[in-house]
Symmetry: C2
Subunit: 961 residues, 2 copies
């Protein structure tokens, strides 16, 4: 019978509890339990047992098991018959071990009674300290400590705590009495009350208890113990605990253990003291003994900050033996737990007690250094080291962060869309941001949402703040790509473009006001908060080298321009997994030609189609009719000439730009593979907004010369062209309007409609690649066709790419390897992967779109319900942050298996935002992908996550063997 | 070795062609080939052989096999060595059989030389007629027919045709000579030329041939034959034929046969004649001999309309023996081919020849009647009868259609979105359409696109015409639901709301002009074209009864209101597969409350969430802070009161409307299951358009009292409320704005955010159902949750529905069966069907959305590329019309199998537009669905398609056995 079955049998009352042991003693260098017995002893109890067994001088005590708690609830709040005897025996052992007795009038034993469930529920249940004090033993404590004030203060605290926990008093009911007394004594602080004051306060307290509860405060320590223990059991089911369990998925029926432990005091004179410490520096990771202490003080004094603690090194002078013992013990503990230890200790009259030790929390920087050094010290394996650092925490090492000592005035919170802190003056449009940026001013670009038009402003800004949009909104994606801090979806702020302000409730932030954003926490702050730069230590490289040794997945980066590619290489990217060619289109020197192309292309298309139809008719025509058709064909050819010239002309202008961009990317990547995606976004993204055009057309006739010039600049026309050009452009914008652009005319659907665009892009790619080869470089272009849903689409586009590749290679006389593959981002492409792989040499999962389509969620709109879904556990998390392994993952797994069934060597990667999410990277490893690709700043994170996946995978495999 | 292998071996030149037979004779009551030899003899040759073998008096002849054609191409345009001898033998047999000789000076044999490939390629290849005429035999023909003009006309036609086909002359080159002659003779018509004129024309023709070709026109009939035969072989590879094969997927390498057949003449005097006929009436299906003929005439005279043909019954008087023979033969043919025959015959000097017979084309009405009667006659089985009627053609029987005799002026073509013809005056907005409709005027509602706001106008119109939108656009779907003709996506028309006109090129149609649309063909016509009503004969019912006997799939209808439900029952629906509750929301008397609900709900939600958070904080609070929180809670409760009252009030108003609607549906369906879908569309669909609101707000201050009243009416406010109300509404509209509404806050996502709406709908459903039960009726409500992507969503909504069901049953004291299920329309729901089925008692595939998400196509936008995709065969067809069986079908199949693995009795249906598409219905049958559901007018179609699927399925199964 497993423990769990056992437990529920007890709970049901079907099992004879007499066969269970209910109380586990620890002390005298040994414990009845051990560290593995969390089910029975709770986390704290098991920890105390383990420390005791490890030879650590823990104050002795005993643990009442969780099964007693369950019995308590299952049997009308009674205890198992054999319990009383067991508790008595344990208490007797405790008194013997510690050399003190409960209620003793000379040197009383005081104990703490604490909850301790299997899973940590910090602060949710009750604790009673100083138990054992009564009117007699308080005198014993005063005598023993020589400090009556301390003794009476302990007693009044005990009464207060006991009354609150056990007798259902409200905590602040006693505060009133204290205030009265202070008023009477004309003092302000509790510490100004004397021993006698406190003694009279105890009398007041006891009187108050009798009055309110109708009984005397219990004087019998055993009764105090019994009542406190049961109160702890009851606190298992208080509202806070229930709520906490619900939030954290902790079962309601496992119950809590109760730990009864001797209290030790660091305030019994100059040979006593108390302190906290770490076996290594938790901020930097340096391997030195680190901590602080106070002599003749209690633990809370260290925390309270009334006295300034001493550095722990000083203890070596004050109490060399104790210091040595502490170092020995904590070194032993670090070896035992094989991790940095965070410990609390008390020295009671020269005797050292460890109250607690646990694996120390540490900064990312420390985690990296400690992991590397522990490997060198032989303390942990490389695999363990890899698992010791949270991949997500690496972000901290790569971005500036707020000075933790700085005061901050947080005015709103949003999503931590792109990590790091940024400080600047608020600016509400991209042009101004770009202007100020060029003038070396620090700005934060604040927008309702960003669009591709804002790129130049984002580029010039320190950080980006948006009122709407989720973790994968335009602002978030682009900012992460740029490695710039971004806080998105701050619903509390209202951005007003016209007044150039943002408001939060009644607070108005104007253009030019300083603000600070923290993209790691989502906070928006007023004023310029000081930041500190990232300190990437040498250990970082060493640590990543260990990780790289163990990972199988390659890590690439998404990068659109050479600058990003170089950054990506610095972070260890092994190729570019996604170059979005359209991002190049938005640059100021290209956009005019892109617009020219978009204005001409559909017209060209329409006339060409008519022409083809008539030419077909001509071929099939008989007799006299052919003459008429010939004339029609000639007329159409004439009509086609002008738009075709404009269309081809625009493409011819774009070709050298693209070629130069690709050349730069190839050069930066030094032979690593570069995946270039052909044009993806809907064409209307490159044109002005419909509303803007309508307003400008409406106001044109009344506009001043200056305004007209501005319009001309905006639309990239001459003033003379505006009158005809703006309505023409409006017509095209309206033609291109879509109800659901995400599912409209974009991706390969563009390349199929306008094959000349694909051809131009392919030519730019292969001309650039040939140039690299001619210069003696290496290059492996991978041309990726986006958004295919059927293999026929890929065939169409791949044929163009391959033809252009062969033409270019021949023309340049160059040998060149290349691949043609596709994004898998439409469910149908995943479903039909076996057929798609007939044509595709590689797959790259576009998990953003794949998630959108698989769930039917528009990522730009899902903010309306996704947060509620996550809160209410309808979804386990945001599927745009971490791959939905059940649904989207099923499609990915299917696509990989079926794709490789057709083409065993099919290369498979992922280039969605998920490529930088640790859980998703682990999933990609398990699904046998070849690589993940993410934004440059996430590359180290992905490398580590991939290594962790490999380590966990091997461990799971050896488990199975 | 199979025939195909044999063929390609010959083609390769690897097989000894001597072992093949190259020429197949037919005549004298027997043929060397047979009807199964299409590979060898081509379709026409095999048909001639079969007819001959069936004892039909076919003019004798021989077929040169397709392998000769392949040899011809594979061996440098030569013929197999043994061919010449075979052809000689066949020709000798032909002359003997027919009693005439090629080139004979008294009674010459004339032959036709025609192509005939395995697959029909009508008009694509060449034919030569009257072969055998030369300067000698033309005199023989003149003598024999006693008609020199006829003989010389035949000769000049032969020269013209031969020169064009064999000698590469352009056809119109000879026309010039004819014109010259007519000019000289001062006549206008060819028929005015005399025998001598034609004789001189033949001389001119021959002279022209010699001059142009540098050789005499060949006089030797054998040379004529050889050259014509080779020309037919060559025509296999002319441009038209190649293009046609590419379009129709016919292989390029199978070649054509050549049929050489004696020509017969119906113009040899009063005992000759020619005619066409059907064994039954192809328009009505009546079982009577049907056709017409002319004595002393050639086939083309019947078609040309110069002389008026006689009804075939007249032949009985003129030539009783021939008539009897014709009836005997055609009756035999009908029994042989087991279908109505469409035949051509010629009587040459009292001898009857059948030139052609084939299964006759027929109207839908005739098809139904013939199928039923042939079953009664024992000619075909019920299964065969079911397969004889094209399900799509049934639409013709259910809608009025254009009078086929009417002249039409087609001004544009669009998609045949909803069948039937409609005539009315053009009207450009829904309100006017509704007004005129109520005034009993016939109107066609013309819109750029329709929206749910237009429903009342659509309802009042005869038909709907839209410039944009596909087969599943709003206009198309709603029109099909209403059974109203609709032509959508007419890109050639431009609709201008302001000028109330539509323009096609330069033509302007104004409001009030009469137009006609034909929703069965997509044509838009100027003026009022006469229509004829559908004539549904008694056979229709008999036929559907046969179909119903053989189908397994149930057929339900989509219906939102009792009127549609009654119509659906009339058409044989066995339940309602989809009731869209939101369609009820658009009715004039409900919309105000819907708007009230939408205005209040999000506010209610926002305050409630704050309140819950504070209440949670209160529960967890300690000490003094609880007082502050209590105050906050009280304030929030107060703030919540007003919007909550408005929200709950609106729902309370909607409840009785919904209950009444559901009651009506249940009543109409008399115990058949009724599937009701909870609220689906995004809320902004119920609010005014953003632009309208902005304009109205901008113009409000300057508006006249009348205009203000109009605004008040539009926004359902008082004039006093407008000033505050319009901006408030605008804010809500902007809050609700979505970038991709198709993937936004809709479907169950609404019900989860606003559970009160689901609760109200559930209450209305169950209260209505309880009422029916109390009245002694039967009812099986099936509550369907839309757009789920994860089982958790369904759990959330199903819990509400089941709770309300139990509450209502208890309150009303009624026993009631019901089911809770879900749409499967999100790919993820299909992928995780095994888990969804834990909660769902039924699935209904929403294939519209499932297709959208699986392909990533917005059906409202796909018009930009789908037509090109279909044209270029990137897609085999429009996936919104017929289910994509490879991709979407894979998901459906997966969902059915996995859903039933969890819940073996899971009921599964389909309620997308595809439920009315025959191929999709067949797929649903194969995928083992329980039912399909479609618009009422498609129910008969679906019933037939389901029966055909069952029949084909059983046939396929017996084949496997």
């Amino acid at each position: 019978m497993s423990t769990t079955e056992n437990e529920s049998a007890v709970l049901d009352g079907t099992k004879d509890p007499m066969s269970d042991k209910f109380v586990y003693f620890f002390g005298d260098g040994a414990a009845e339990g051990n560290g593995g017995m969390k089910d029975v002893l709770g986390g704290k109890g098991a920890g105390l047992a383990e420390m005791t067994n490890a030879g650590v001088p823990v104050p002795p005590g005993f643990t009442i098991t969780t099964s007693v708690c369950r019995w308590y609830y299952a049997n009308g709040k009674t205890l198992p018959p054999s319990f009383a005897g067991e508790q008595h025996d344990a208490l007797t052992r405790l008194e013997a071990s510690f050399g003190k007795k409960l209620g003793d009038s000379n040197d009383p034993l005081l104990v703490s009674v604490r909850s301790g469930a299997k899973f940590s529920m910090p602060g949710m249940m009750d604790t009673v300290l100083n138990l054992g004090l009564n009117d007699v033993s308080v005198e014993g404590l005063a005598l023993k400590t020589g400090n009556p004030r301390f003794a009476w203060d302990c007693y009044r605290r005990f009464i207060q705590m006991f009354a609150s926990v056990v007798m259902d008093f409200e905590k602040n009911q006693f505060e009133h009495l204290i205030e009265q007394l202070k008023h009477k004594r004309k003092v302000k602080l509790d510490t100004e009350l004397t021993a006698d004051d406190l003694k009279s306060l105890v009398l007041d307290f006891k009187r108050f208890v009798r009055k309110q509860a109708g009984r005397d405060f219990p004087q019998d320590p055993l009764e105090q113990l019994a009542l406190s223990r049961d109160a702890v059991f009851r606190s298992w089911n208080n509202d806070r605990a229930i709520y906490y369990r619900r939030q954290n998925g902790i079962p309601d029926d496992i119950g809590t253990a109760v730990n009864v432990q001797a209290m030790v005091f660091g305030n019994l004179g100059e040979t006593s003291g108390t302190g906290v410490g770490f076996t290594r520096n938790p901020s930097t990771g340096e391997h030195h003994f680190y901590g602080e202490y106070l002599t003749n003080a209690q633990g809370e004094d260290v925390v309270a900050g009334v006295r300034t603690p001493q550095p722990i090194a000083h203890l070596e002078q004050e109490m060399p033996a104790v210091y040595q013992q502490l170092r020995d013990i904590t070194s032993r503990l670090e070896k035992h737990y094989r991790d940095i230890q965070d410990f609390e200790f008390t020295i009671q009259e020269g005797t050292l007690y460890l109250l607690q030790t646990r694996n120390g929390k540490r900064t990312a920087q420390a985690a990296v250094r400690i992991a590397v050094e522990m490997v060198h010290e032989g303390l942990i394996t490389e695999q363990e080291a890899i698992l010791r650092v949270d991949p997500a925490s690496l972000d901290q090492l790569l971005h500036p962060r707020l000075d933790p000592k700085a005061k901050v005035n947080v005015i709103a919170k949003g999503l931590s869309a792109s990590p790091g802190a940024a400080v600047g003056i608020a600016v509400f449009d991209a042009d101004t941001a770009a202007e100020m940026g060029h003038a070396k001013k620090k700005v934060i670009l604040v927008r309702k949402e960003t669009t591709p038009d804002d790129i130049h402003g984002m580029d010039a800004a320190q950080g980006i703040l948006t009122a709407t949009g989720g973790m994968t909104s335009h602002a978030a994606v682009v900012a992460r790509g740029m490695g710039k801090p971004c806080v998105s979806g701050v619903s509390a702020i209202h951005v007003n473009d016209k007044t150039r302000t943002m408001t939060v409730d009644k607070l108005v932030v104007k253009e030019g006001d300083w603000i600070t954003i923290d993209g790691s926490t989502g906070r928006v702050m007023l004023g310029a908060v000081p930041t500190i730069d990232a300190e990437v230590s040498g250990e970082f490289g060493a640590f990543m080298a260990i990780a790289d040794k163990h990972r199988r997945l390659k890590v690439r980066s998404n990068a659109d321009i050479p600058r990003d590619a170089i950054k990506a290489r610095e972070f260890g990217a092994e190729g570019i997994g996604l170059c979005r060619t359209e991002h190049m289109f938005f640059a100021e020197d290209r956009l005019p030609f892109v617009v020219q192309m978009i204005m001409a292309a559909p017209l060209t298309k329409a006339i060409s189609e008519k022409l083809a139809a008539r030419e077909k008719a001509l071929a099939a025509s008989l007799g006299g009719e052919s003459k008429t058709i010939k004339a029609e064909v000639a007329a159409l050819k004439k009509e086609l000439a002008a738009p075709m010239k404009s269309y081809k002309g625009a493409l011819a202008k774009l070709l050298p730009f693209q070629r130069k961009d690709f050349y730069g990317l190839f050069k930066a990547m030094k032979g690593y593979p570069v995946t270039i995606r052909t044009l993806d976004p809907p064409l209307h993204e490159f044109l002005p907004k419909r509303e803007d055009l309508m307003v400008d057309i409406a106001t044109f006739s009344r506009a001043t010369t200056g305004q007209k010039k501005e319009m001309a600049k905006k639309y990239r026309m001459t003033v003379a062209q505006l009158k005809k050009g703006m309505p023409e452009m409006l017509r095209r914008v309206e033609d291109l309007h879509e109800f659901n652009p995400m599912m409209g005319h974009r991706g390969c659907r563009l390349g199929i409609t306008y094959p000349e665009v694909t051809e131009m892009q392919a030519r730019a790619i292969f001309e650039a690649a040939c140039q690299i080869v001619k210069e003696g470089g290496n290059v492996v272009p991978e041309v990726m066709i986006p958004l295919i849903g059927t293999v026929e689409e890929l065939k169409d586009q791949a044929a163009i790419v391959r033809r252009v590749a062969e033409e270019t290679k021949k023309a340049k006389g160059v040998q060149l390897e290349y691949m043609v593959g596709t994004m898998i981002e439409i469910p149908r492409a995943a479903l039909t992967a076996a057929r798609v792989a007939e044509e595709a040499e590689f797959f790259s999962f576009g998990t953003n779109d794949l998630t959108q389509m698989t769930y039917g969620y528009s990522r730009d709109d899902a903010g309306k319900f996704l947060p509620e879904y996550v809160n209410r556990k309808i979804l386990p998390g945001d599927p745009f942050v971490s791959v939905d392994q059940e649904g989207v993952g099923m499609l990915m797994d299917w696509a990989v298996k079926n794709g490789r069934s057709t083409r065993p060597k099919l290369k498979v990667g992922i280039c969605g935002e998920h490529g930088g999410d640790p859980a998703s990277v682990e999933f990609c490893h398990r699904t046998d992908l070849d690589y993940v690709s993410c934004s440059p700043f996430r590359v180290p994170l992905a490398r580590l996550a991939a290594a962790q996946a490999a380590v966990r995978g091997s461990a799971a495999e050896s488990d199975r063997r």
